[in-house]
């Protein structure tokens, strides 16, 4: 299948996922990948990813299909974890395979920019001092997602 989408509590295997993208088609010349992970600092201990079951899978599937067509990919992948994740843990894997590097890397950026504010996930941060804070959507993230509406391709 050219499009692979998963929402899961378990970790993802970057090597295995990239291998899947690399071997989908003999016409693939490049594979772009982005891995988002829990960034430490400011006393953060962990975060919990909440989501909207059903809507999450549907919106990621639609996003991946849009990338496949828009960038003429040979394949793409979106895997998002849910539940409690500690510093350094992988949160999201997005990847895109294409004939040429430009499409692969642009599609990878498109997938993560659009996923950030376009799929129903919410992050709750836990700090060492006991505070628990729901992460606010950043205006820069919403701008990055909007920018794809007017960009070509």
């Amino acid at each position: 299948m050219p499009v692979h989408v998963r929402v899961q509590a378990a970790p993802f295997d970057v090597g295995q996922q990239t291998e899947r993208l690399s071997t989908l088609s003999p016409h693939t010349g490049g594979v772009g990948v982005f891995v988002g992970q829990v960034r430490g600092g400011q006393g953060l201990r962990a975060m919990t990813l909440e989501h909207y079951p059903g809507m999450t899978e549907a919106s990621l599937q639609a996003l991946a299909q849009e990338a496949l067509v828009r960038f003429e990919l040979t394949g793409c992948t979106v895997i998002h974890r849910i539940g409690r994740l500690e510093i350094g843990a992988g949160i999201v894997f997005v990847g895109a395979a294409a004939a040429h590097r430009g499409a692969a890397l642009t599609a990878t950026t498109f997938l993560i920019d659009r996923l950030k504010t376009g799929a129903p996930f919410w992050k709750r941060e836990e700090y060492e001092d006991g505070r628990a804070i729901w992460v606010d959507a950043r205006e820069t993230d919403e701008e990055a997602a909007r920018a794809w509406l007017t960009r070509t391709p």
Binding site: Y52, M55, I91, T117, W122, K123, W134, A137, E142
Partner: protein, 87 residues
């Protein structure tokens, strides 16, 4: 039961309201999301306060992002939540 809509809350909203879903009876002809919100708020001051504290409240109808003008019909699923923060 056919004249019910299911209302869901997520993230900070769910936590503040203290419940994640609600069954609401509506008129058979349906109503806008905005009217549904007003109906819920009229019956639940705690929900009214939590929604008011969300300056960028989002809504999905049947798991698709929608506007407050969208018409809700009996049997629909309506979810309210803060801006999404995935990735």
């Amino acid at each position: 039961m056919a004249e019910q809509v299911t209302v869901l809350f997520f993230a900070a909203l769910r936590e503040q309201i203290g419940q994640e879903s609600l069954s609401v009876s509506i008129a058979p002809g349906g109503l806008s999301v905005r009217a549904l919100r007003a109906q819920i708020e009229g019956a639940n001051p705690a929900i009214a306060q939590a929604l008011a504290e969300q300056p960028r409240l989002r809504v999905a109808v049947n798991q698709t992002l929608s506007t407050f003008e969208h018409m809700v019909k009996p049997g629909d699923e309506v979810a309210f939540f803060p801006p999404m923060t995935g990735g």
